[in-house]
Point group: C2
Chain length 279, copies 2
Amino acid sequence: MKLFNRIGIVGLGLIGGSLGMAIRKNAVGSEIVGVTRKKRTLDAALKLGAIDCGSLDFKILSNCDLIILATPVKTIIELLGQIKPYIKRGAVISDVGSTKFEIVKAAQRTLPKGIDFIGSHPLAGSEKRGIDNATAELFNDSLCILTPAKVNIQANTRKLKLFWKKVGAKVKILEPKTHDRIIAATSHLPHLAAFGLIGSLPESYLGYAGSGLRDTTRIASSDPLLWTEIFLTNRQAILKSIKAFQKQICEFSILIRKKDGRRLFTRIRNIKSKRDKLV
Amino acid sequence: MKLFNRIGIVGLGLIGGSLGMAIRKNAVGSEIVGVTRKKRTLDAALKLGAIDCGSLDFKILSNCDLIILATPVKTIIELLGQIKPYIKRGAVISDVGSTKFEIVKAAQRTLPKGIDFIGSHPLAGSEKRGIDNATAELFNDSLCILTPAKVNIQANTRKLKLFWKKVGAKVKILEPKTHDRIIAATSHLPHLAAFGLIGSLPESYLGYAGSGLRDTTRIASSDPLLWTEIFLTNRQAILKSIKAFQKQICEFSILIRKKDGRRLFTRIRNIKSKRDKLV
């Protein structure tokens, strides 16, 4: 028996498209239906086998056992109200958004009892986007964080956990607020730093880039709308992370100004040994 | 005929070792001799074919037509005086340091007339280090910046340029000061940002890292001594780059605090389109 019978995916970009392909490849659902705003995307998703059938209309989500909202954060929140009329009682709803507290709060406010919304955050995006970059292997060896709430049915959380494992991800569980605080530091701040590095660089310098600049700023090519919405829906945690980062840069700046080689060395050595633990 | 007859390399780490291997592979010199501080490194370099013979003594550099100093910046400066007694008249001396103004200035002060020091900066390092990571392919498709001075003999600059091309690099020419200003922004600042990102991160968060954090902070695993010396020998330019970066982070922080989605989006979109030019 398949884990879910009918699975709906709203949004068929890199994540949504890849998810459909991974569901099919790993036989996690009997039927995959997709909703998107553009006919061209639907056609591409059908061609790739990411969905069995698709529509520009939410009606196709009727009778789904699992619906995954795979759009930027603000759209996820807006979608909750729009798909509500078509959700089957007992269905599990999830998403792929990079911030969780605002989304979970909106879901609890919007969706009726008997529909379990459980937040998911697959850490599998990249600076690439769109169905054309989708691949069934996107989630292999990646991490997916689930943020179940007390109101959720535990059996549903277990089922959703198994779902992500079957498409290739390792799964960890966090409170929504804890998720947002950790991801602010591990993902949102690095994006901001990458944006800042490119922002502060005269364009004529790009011709002198080595692999260091390339790697540190790869994610500065990420989708602007996606990241605007992430920054705005995780404001407090991001502002806190920025402050801690600014403190670091300021302290480095003082040591360099004072030519304090001994403290600079110790500091970099400690940072290197921390970074070396990230394999 | 080989480009240089006898080539000496001082320092047989990742760069020095790889350079020896690339010189041999591309038949750029007739004989490669190496100097290092540790017997173990010499043995490894001989085994890898990075050198034909090696010594812990600078005397082996006698009769070299080209000597490359492949150590951290401060050591390069100290080495100039130490190797001076053994340099053949008419020899070309170069280095691989990541800052150029201080090194070129020290060379002009230290070395006698008739010995041409021409600064080189191969942008081919990585967070890895040591002879054990050396490879003849390290410089393939990388960039090497030469910083010749007015006192240098043009024929020597042309020969050194050809040397780097033959080991695989593309070559650009810059003034030492210009080099230091550009590299402060494209390499030194990104390293500092990577150190700052890891520095500001609670260690327990490392388990939640995605590819974004991994890529932006790969270079935070770089050699602490090397980077202490780079920061100290390019202070002015780095402090200027830090200031421009701090301004960017501060402006982002204000837009996020003010929830100014429109300006955030425009800013990130402009940065993305700049970064997309870096292929």
